[in-house]
């Protein structure tokens, strides 16, 4: 046969076409009894409705977790979760944590040393010793 083809799967480029927010769900856990949940209880009635309205792609589940500290747990598309304990925080601080969860990718916290991650090696081509001007002694 003159030509065969190899199997492959196309790679998604989030944002090139459509953008999919990686945070798909946030669990909001509060406690009616614990003092550490005071800020969270206020957050649920004051800031959370606005947060939910501005982020319709994140499903929010609010449920009590009695006798435990208040918690925000984010679920991501890569299957990982990130839990943030918000004990004794003010409602504004809890909103910051919620925004932190929303902006995350779900990957583990890692240091990124390079400024750009790309599928293209370079714009002008990778240097090769066989092309271009030769060094002559």
């Amino acid at each position: 046969m003159p030509l065969k083809a190899l199997e492959a799967v196309s790679k998604g480029q989030n944002g090139v076409g459509a953008f999919i927010l990686q945070c798909k769900r946030i669990d909001v856990h509060y406690c009616d009894w614990a003092g550490s949940s005071k800020g969270m209880n206020t957050f649920i009635t004051t800031h959370l409705p606005t947060f939910a309205r501005l982020n319709p792609s994140i499903e929010l589940h609010i449920s009590p977790r009695p006798t435990r500290h208040p918690l925000l747990r984010g679920h991501y598309i890569n299957g990982r979760q990130k839990a943030v304990c918000v004990k004794n925080l003010a409602p504004g601080q809890i909103l910051e944590k919620a925004e932190l969860l929303k902006a995350g990718s779900g990957e583990k916290n890692q240091r990124i040393n390079k400024p750009v991650a790309s599928l293209n090696g370079s714009v002008r081509g990778v240097w090769s010793p066989f092309h271009g001007s030769r060094y002559r002694l």
Partner: protein
């Protein structure tokens, strides 16, 4: 968000479930169900005899009731995540997630929508590939199409969209989960008692004629994958994505359907050069030049280094007269020659005209675009 409710879907649901309609056995609050009327449980709940008779009606349903899709946060979140138009109702989105193995009723599963969506997906992808890469060989074209919209790609896309699968299908499952009956772990994929069939290899012409891109699927009288009771996760994802494409086309129109395809499928990256698997590229290049009327290809050594070392590099170029068709480096002279010929063939096959007019962009006649015929190639080299 204003969504259009699907009256027909609600009517079908009412007709299908009227005899068994009872309140769900879950603890919910009245304020959560704006617009959904609470129905008190049928029958006396106080006498001890009736307590034993209380069944859980939702588990008896094969798929969740259509009305439950309006109060499902997962479904609403998926709708917003894919930035679907409000013209696509939540009920239809819910329907796209139900595979026929979960619910055989054609009014509540995604079989019909998947049929439409599969055709649309194939059409849009094929016209994009053919218009932008007119010289692409058929086997590579099929591989590219599989890479964009094949079963494996669609299952990856399903996961990237944040759609999880339900462990078991049922009426009590939260809407927004992909519901299908999975092949049990360890179960044989083919019937071991069935007589062994002779596998006929499928050639390219046969695949073109039957619209089947799978090279390994043998010619059979009936497709064994249809009307199965259990399917794989990949097959369920495929039907979901196809059904969603079909639903977008039906509810949002042709332009929205094209935009959806462009944003979610064509935006994906595929290196076409990595799809080619040559047998004897030098021979193929020679036949191509003969056909096109070019001078016969001659491989020339452009540069080399380390001939007597353990890792020599020979940069070989294939020339047709004074024009260089292709160039590549190899560890031996022959390797360099072969690689250069392959590179030359790739350069020929991956030609992309600067401007194309896709047929779907002038479909119907109202778009205002003028139809300019695209470049059509005579075909690949057949040795």
């Amino acid at each position: 968000m204003r969504v259009r409710t699907s009256l027909s879907a609600l009517t079908f649901q009412a007709m299908a479930t009227m005899p068994a309609m009872r309140a769900p056995a879950t603890m919910v609050l009245a304020f959560q169900f704006a617009g959904w009327l609470y129905q008190p449980p049928a029958g006396d709940q106080t006498s001890p005899r009736s307590n034993e008779q209380i069944t859980r009606p939702l588990e008896e349903l094969p798929s969740p009731p259509v009305s439950s899709s309006l109060s499902a946060p997962r479904l609403a979140a998926l709708h917003a995540r894919l930035t679907l138009s409000p013209r696509l109702p939540l009920q239809t989105l819910h329907r796209t997630l139900i595979h026929p193995t979960a619910d055989p009723d054609p009014r509540f599963n995604n079989a019909s929508l998947a049929l439409l969506g599969g055709e649309l997906l194939g059409y849009h992808t094929a016209e994009h590939l053919i218009c932008h890469y007119p010289r692409l060989p058929m086997s590579v074209f099929f591989a590219a199409q599989d890479a964009y919209i094949g079963p494996r790609a669609l299952s990856v896309i399903t996961r990237e969209w944040g759609v999880d699968k339900a462990a078991e299908p049922g009426g009590e499952v939260a809407p927004g989960l992909l519901q299908f009956r999975a092949i049990p772990a360890g179960a044989p994929l083919t019937d071991p008692d069935a007589p062994k069939e002779k596998i006929w290899n499928r050639g390219v012409s046969s695949r073109i004629a039957s619209d089947d891109s799978n090279p390994r699927r043998s010619i059979r009288t009936e497709d064994p994958s249809e009307n199965k009771d259990e399917v794989s996760y990949e097959q369920a994802c495929t039907s979901f994505v196809r059904a969603l494409v079909g639903a977008v086309h039906l509810h949002c129109g042709r332009n929205a359907s094209l935009a959806f395809h462009r944003d979610h499928f064509l935006s994906r990256h595929l290196d076409f050069a990595k799809l080619f698997d040559f047998d004897d590229p030098a021979r193929d290049l020679s036949r191509l030049c003969a056909r096109e009327g070019f001078e016969p290809p001659i491989a020339r050594l452009i540069s080399e280094t380390g001939r007597l070392s353990r890792h020599p590099v020979f940069v070989v170029g294939v020339y047709s007269g004074r024009d260089k068709l292709g160039e590549a480096a190899g560890a031996s002279l022959n390797e360099g020659r072969v690689r250069a010929a392959a590179q030359a063939l790739k350069a020929w096959y991956l030609y992309s005209p600067p401007e194309v007019t896709k047929p779907s962009s002038v479909e119907g006649g109202e778009t205002g675009k003028k139809w300019i015929p695209n470049y059509v190639d005579c075909g690949e080299v057949v040795a």
